[in-house]
Symmetry: C4
Subunit: 276 residues, 4 copies
């Protein structure tokens, strides 16, 4: 069966099982990493001043290659809108357009840093999620506990707002950097998460006492997300890994090991049609 | 049955099941968030200087609305003292009064930051505790281990007092900021909880050695709160899972092992119809 | 039976079951907390300059009371050496002697900070270990895994020595504070434990790259102490809380619940001699 | 049987069961620790200026002893290349050569810090891995989850690259230190791992908001490595505990559930004498 060039192109770009598809993926991966390297080098002042010419040419090469890929993706798909407005479609657009914009708008060049977003495609190309996904208890545990984690984060934010406001009251007359409530909230988050930059730090004894309470609080409640994930993991392990929910047709015993062929309690076959 | 206007008001303010009650909750939630936003904006110097007039008017609008709510809550409840001296009653009062005080006492305006405390009502309005509470193992684990956590925190505080005092002895002649024992204790807490601001840091080799010990200690004993919560969680899971909810028909004892055929307490068969 | 005054004194000081013993413990607890408060206040310069006279008198009162306690403890015990060279005996001596020394040796006054060590007696007086100890799985888990934790700490120290030496090689020419290998090792500990003061921080790209590796390493291997403690806890729970090692004399089934009187599998009494 | 001096030397150097072998190990351990202490002292400026002569002589003594050990190791082994290109062989070479190089090349002296790498031999001499290894669940858990941990680290790095690039866009015009994308990525790692030096810190409200998100993210996803290790540990425990070590007398299958009466694979009774 002869395929149209469009469906061939689709196979190469969107699928990874053919040799051509695999080659495309590898070339794309290298291009993405090279483009990120370029963006990084360009942001280093000394390098840009020395090798500005080379960087500009390399940027244009990468941009044109990405543009070709972008157009090829649109052409080869049946419903272009499905790609264009997809997560990766938007990222591909955002990482290609700044170089063209820089021809018309001064300063838009720096938007090229958005190209780092293309790194996310690494997960898709390398199918990294598979490695986690194969025994994807962690992912499922995170998904199953997303409401709890969301409420936990909201709790943290409300706590930091309250504590930040109180610290603003106490420290606002000092030289300690608590110049506004948003800054104080930022400080509370920095402290509660045990990051502790030190750009803002309490100077009054009362402020330091409250800061100590926040620190011990933050040191302690790190047990909560860990506990949520671990508890979810433990209940999953219990549910579906070791024992299945099969019931013996002879004695109705449950709790058989996965892969068990015979009932451990009465010795009857568990899957009569299969053992025939 | 005709209701008095007081009981209708009570239904709207204190209950959330009627449409009017739900509407009241939503309006209150928006008002609280708006009032917090106002307080934050006012604390930013640039914004206050530009939009001082607008902020002042908006503050008064919010304050009057909160005052009406406060009075309505007092009128519509049978025993006003139960609301006034309740947790939320005190918070509502503290977040309404500073604006009035600012008319008489210069400087009391900044107390308006206490309004952030009203954020706690968010938990009640959104019934956020329900989401954690539905499978509230974490909450139960925290409650069950509150004495252990309390002793752990007391242990941390005593440890920091001792280590802070020793560091004061060692570093007090240096320019490192260990100017008093309370400050040294504050530093010990900052270090043990791995926050590490850097506003106070040891300079002598001996001080740095002891600081290193505190850090490794703090890095290690973070396992303790995590361990306490996880252990409590694990033993809860075990209660629910390893033992079933069967009650012996003879002696009514509960807590039998899954798979048990006879009551562990009186020896009667647990499943008479099956053992027949 | 008439007791000698010595044995009465011993009962009051060393035991806590009589009313007099309890009173003594409470008075001692208050005295210790007061003495710590004094030491803290004295270390604050502003306070010492204002209230130096009061502090000096209060110090002498506390010191004399502690001296009386120390002598009473020696007199009332049969073998004084057992107390004098015990852990608490040494601490009591160290926290009493500096005030006397200050009469002869200038500067020894600051050793009074050692009095903070007396805080450890709080654990004994309040019997705080009981609260952890009652369900003392955490303590037993820590004790059972002390070799593993020791090896882990040694591993951390060796790792920090190696990484610190390498960082000294890379950053020694910069203004970043890596002035000697011991300082670099101190920095490696500060970084690996995620404390991060910022008093020493790499400036070269290579140094920052290695620092990044250390940070991610430190962020990841915090799972190891947590894992050690949790694993130990889990195996303990499994061992001795839910099921015992009893074997039924009739059907030899094992895995009975603690407290079980009858075999869950055949219904025979598990403890024939007891049920007789 | 008379042994050649080569095989005797091999026994002393490479084995630890004979008295001579044990003595060699102890002497070597002391020499390594002494050499590390020397390197540390030499890096401290004040000490080197005072005791430069002594340090130089001691360095040469250590270097010559290490050279003798190195040559002895090469001579006494059958295939010298197996030692020379082994992990420890390379380390031994790297820690011996800098002193000789310093005779010819100025500045190579500082490479002597590489000697810290010899500390790794401590693990071998003290057989420290045995203590972890005896109940080596942690090690097995780390090994079993190395792919997941690798993917997790790659995820962290990609996340930091993206977040660092975005922060560079936002903060590049400020005095906050985000001077290039690599530096911004370094900052993102410092923040996500909750180290928080504070040498680079956001100054704009938008930058601080994104920094807050990164901090809460870092505070939360520390649960992931802990969860991975704990889950792996738990499933290991389960393998040992929930399944027994019985082997079916008919088909030799292992891994039966505790309490199983019949083989789950072939249906034969597992305990023929009991079922009779």
């Amino acid at each position: 069966m002869a395929k149209s060039w469009k469906s061939k192109l689709h196979e190469i770009i969107y699928e990874a099982d053919t040799p051509a598809g695999k080659l495309f993926d590898i070339v794309l991966l290298i291009l993405i990493l090279a483009s990120i390297a370029l963006v990084m080098l360009e942001s280093v002042d000394e390098f840009r001043l020395k090798h500005g010419k080379f960087l500009d040419i390399a940027e244009w090469v990468i941009t044109i290659l990405f543009s070709i890929e972008y157009i090829a993706r649109i052409i080869s798909i049946r419903k272009p809108s499905r790609y264009i407005f997809s997560f990766y479609g938007v990222i591909d657009f955002l990482s290609t357009i700044p170089k063209y914009l820089s021809l018309f708008i001064v300063g838009s060049q720096s938007l090229i840093a958005l190209r780092a977003l293309r790194l996310m495609r690494v997960f898709r190309i390398l199918k990294l999620t598979r490695y986690i996904g194969e025994s994807n208890n962690i992912m499922r545990a995170l998904r199953a506990s997303r409401i709890k984690i969301g409420v936990f984060i909201m709790f943290i934010l409300i706590l930091c707002t309250i504590l930040g406001s109180i610290m603003y009251l106490i420290e606002s007359n000092e030289e300690s950097g608590f110049t506004s409530i948003p800054r104080s909230i930022y400080w509370a988050i920095v402290t509660l998460t045990t990051v502790g930059y030190g750009d803002i730090a309490p100077l009054t004894p009362l402020g330091q006492s409250i800061a100590s309470i926040i620190m011990i609080l933050g040191y302690g409640i790190i047990a909560v997300p860990t506990g949520i994930v671990t508890a979810e993991l433990a209940s999953m392990e219990k549910d579906d890994i070791q024992l299945n929910t099969l019931s013996c047709s002879n004695c109705a015993t449950e709790g058989h090991r996965n892969g068990a062929e015979y009932c451990f309690d009465c010795g009857e076959p568990l899957h009569p049609e299969e053992t025939d």
